[in-house]
């Protein structure tokens, strides 16, 4: 069990590092776009390469952040029924989801994604727009790699849930703390003194 925690921690750190690094692609995306917009007014550079660079950055950004978002619990969940379920049931759902949905889904995209990249590499594919960028396989491979990180994040979550389900109490506690610390809310949480309203108003007014 200790080993499971260590493995999941290593995976966790790697995935989050990668995600945080990839997040900077967002800034470069904005910079490239602005550069293209501004220079187009004054210079004849030809924008095809720049515009292709834009979606290259967009691919890096979303592909490497899929797993990062899973660990940070940023993927949307419909929690309508979930709240009424016991914690144990929720853990079991997460285990089943990882094993039956997430991992096979990643497996498939990785499998065919590599095939897809190989086809591109074998033909030394370049942009279909004759004035665009070359070495298309370099960006195509980002998709299977991104899904690879997503799969690893699935394994991390799976290991943690197994510990929570079957591990000794102290490890369960430890995992729980790690998980709580990881959750990142995309919008600043409403201050505690205001929290009462969403239950109160909603229930109260009807």
């Amino acid at each position: 069990m200790e080993l499971l925690i260590r493995v999941s921690d290593v995976l966790d750190r790697v995935i989050i590092k990668v995600g945080r690094l990839a997040a900077w692609a967002g800034l470069f995306l904005i910079l490239v776009t602005i550069f293209d917009v501004v220079t187009r007014r004054f210079l004849v550079l030809g924008s095809t390469k720049l515009q292709e660079a834009e979606w290259h950055l967009h691919v890096i950004l979303f592909a490497f952040c899929l797993g990062y978002a899973y660990l940070k619990d940023a993927h949307v969940r419909i929690d309508l029924l979930r709240e009424n379920l016991s914690e144990r049931t929720q853990w079991w759902i997460e285990v089943a989801g990882c094993l039956l949905f997430l991992l096979p889904y990643c497996g498939l995209v990785i499998w065919f994604g590599i095939d897809f990249t190989e086809r591109s590499y074998a033909t030394q594919e370049i942009s279909a727009s004759a004035t665009g960028l070359t070495h298309r396989w370099l960006i195509k491979i980002v998709i299977p790699i991104g899904f690879g990180f997503l799969a690893l994040s699935g394994i991390t979550v799976l290991l943690r849930k197994l510990i929570e389900l079957f591990g000794p109490e102290e490890l369960r506690q430890k995992v729980h703390e790690i998980e709580e610390a990881e959750i990142e809310h995309l919008v600043d949480v409403v201050p505690p003194e205001l929290r009462r309203y969403d239950d109160q108003r909603d229930g109260g007014q009807n």
Binding site: A69, A74, L85, R195
Partner: protein, 456 residues
């Protein structure tokens, strides 16, 4: 007629999604997982083969990755996150609230206005809903707004972007119809703004009768003197207004395409944060990371949805829909209403692009050849139908339980905001949109008059 269970697999996909969605597992992976599972079930019944899964990757590649339009999404998310983090958004909304102190639901009205302006710069619902939620929801919650009213206002005004041009949806529709994008753009203007006006009237009336839902600013808060208000306006109103001008202006003056305008907005948001002296390395890093997480969430749904809808189509789902409509043998109005109902239903499960691909190519020539008497001139039926479809698709982004716009919103909303509140909040706005749809059906000139005047 023989009954083969494999003919009905696509319908079971709806059922499976409907049930499993409520397991609380991430929507993105449920969509992908169900697509996968039904592919395997299809293999068992010999109506699908393993190699057909290959198509999922080129779909991801061509539809989501190598897609220049979608690059606007991360940039708009960044813009929203930066404006929120740097306090520019809450300053602006605070100022609006001070100005609209005496107007019922002033903040909600400002949000609707903001959504309408945002709609004129982008046509991607994911981008506008996420951005609007980031900007407005925290402020509205802090101001004690009724949660369903706040979420409903944001989600509804956020989805206006798909109707008010520029809109990638109208471009794709024009492509499938082989008709002018310009005509569709112009035809969508009045219906789009009409809905925005409906929302505002509704908010005004509702908040007028129930001021508790949208508490006005306490009297003691905010400046009272004209000078104080002027200072507030200059401080908090002008900078974001400048940003709006920059984004919209860059499109109107032909400096940037609508997609690139998102980049202008992102850069402008950095600039404003710097002017507000709230920009430093850690803020920038934090905003980038949060935007990346939001993007991961959003694109996770896109990826799952493309897998789900591909398998649906490969299993013959389109044919079920088409056969259903054709087997009913309806007259012109019956057929139109039936199609609208089906599109509304499909909107629960699919992205607009998949619905458009099912409905438009098959039914637009049929509808276009129908006779609506004096109601619509036969040459204009196709445009009229496209606008009806567009309004309907906008609505179906919001319809509980499976509205995609609601997912995007839930993804970025504070965890205190429950999906049931979001569902509840959307009901009046969906009704307003259906009323709008009915009006455009009853009075086609709402859509057709402007192109007639402007373009001919």
């Amino acid at each position: 007629m023989d009954f083969y269970i494999e003919d009905f697999l696509p319908l079971f996909m709806f059922a499976a999604l409907g049930i499993l969605l409520f397991s609380g597992y991430p929507v993105a992976f449920i969509l992908g997982g169900i697509g996968l599972a039904f592919g395997f079930i299809g293999m068992f019944f010999d109506v699908f083969s393993f190699i057909q899964f290959f198509n999922i990757v080129p779909r991801i590649w061509g539809g989501i990755a190598e897609n220049l339009v979608l690059t606007a999404i991360p940039m708009f998310i960044f813009m929203g996150t930066m404006l929120e983090r740097s306090g520019v958004a809450s300053d602006l909304l605070h100022c609006l609230q001070v100005l609209l102190r005496r107007v019922p639901g002033g903040l909600a009205l400002s949000v609707t206005l903001m959504g309408t302006i945002m709609a004129a710069t982008t046509g991607i619902i994911g981008a506008s809903v996420v951005m609007m939620t980031l900007l407005a929801l925290p402020v509205m919650l802090k101001r004690d707004y009724n949660v369903p009213l706040a979420t409903g206002t944001i989600a509804a005004s956020g989805t206006l972007g798909i109707l008010i041009p520029p809109s990638i949806m109208l471009v794709i529709m024009a492509d499938l119809l082989a008709r002018s994008v310009g005509n569709l753009f112009v035809a969508a203007i009045i219906p789009g703004f009409m809905l925005a006006v409906f929302y505002m009237l509704y908010i005004l009336v509702l908040c007028g009768f129930k001021p508790k839902l949208a508490p006005p600013l306490p009297k003691e808060e905010g400046p009272d003197s004209a000078g104080g208000i002027l200072l507030l306006v200059v401080r908090s109103f002008i900078p974001p207004l400048f940003l709006v001008f920059l984004v919209l202006g860059s499109i109107l003056f032909g400096w940037a395409t609508p997609t690139e305008a998102a980049g202008v907005g992102g850069a402008g948001a950095i600039l404003l944060a710097a002017v507000n002296r709230r920009l430093n390395f850690s803020v920038l890093k934090d905003v980038l990371e949060r935007s990346a997480l939001t993007g991961g969430m959003l694109f996770g749904i896109f990826l799952g949805a493309t897998c789900f809808s591909y398998v649906f189509r490969a299993l013959g789902g389109d044919d079920i829909v088409i056969d259903l409509v054709e087997s009913l043998g309806l007259g012109s109005w019956g057929l139109l209403l039936m199609l609208m109902a089906i599109v509304f239903f499909l909107g629960f499960f699919f992205d607009w692009i998949e619905i458009t691909l099912i409905v438009l190519p098959v039914f637009s020539p049929i509808i276009g050849a129908l006779d609506f008497g004096n109601h619509v001139e036969s040459l204009e039926i196709t445009y009229w139908f496209a606008i009806l479809l567009a309004v309907n698709l906008q609505t179906s982004f919001l319809t509980p339980p499976f509205g995609f716009a609601l997912f995007y919103m839930k993804g970025v909303a504070p965890p205190e905001v429950k999906i049931q509140q979001i569902y509840k909040g959307i009901i009046p706005f969906v009704l307003l949109q259906l009323a709008g749809l009915g009006l455009i059906m009853a009075f086609p000139d709402i859509a057709l008059w402007l192109p007639r005047v402007l373009l001919n």
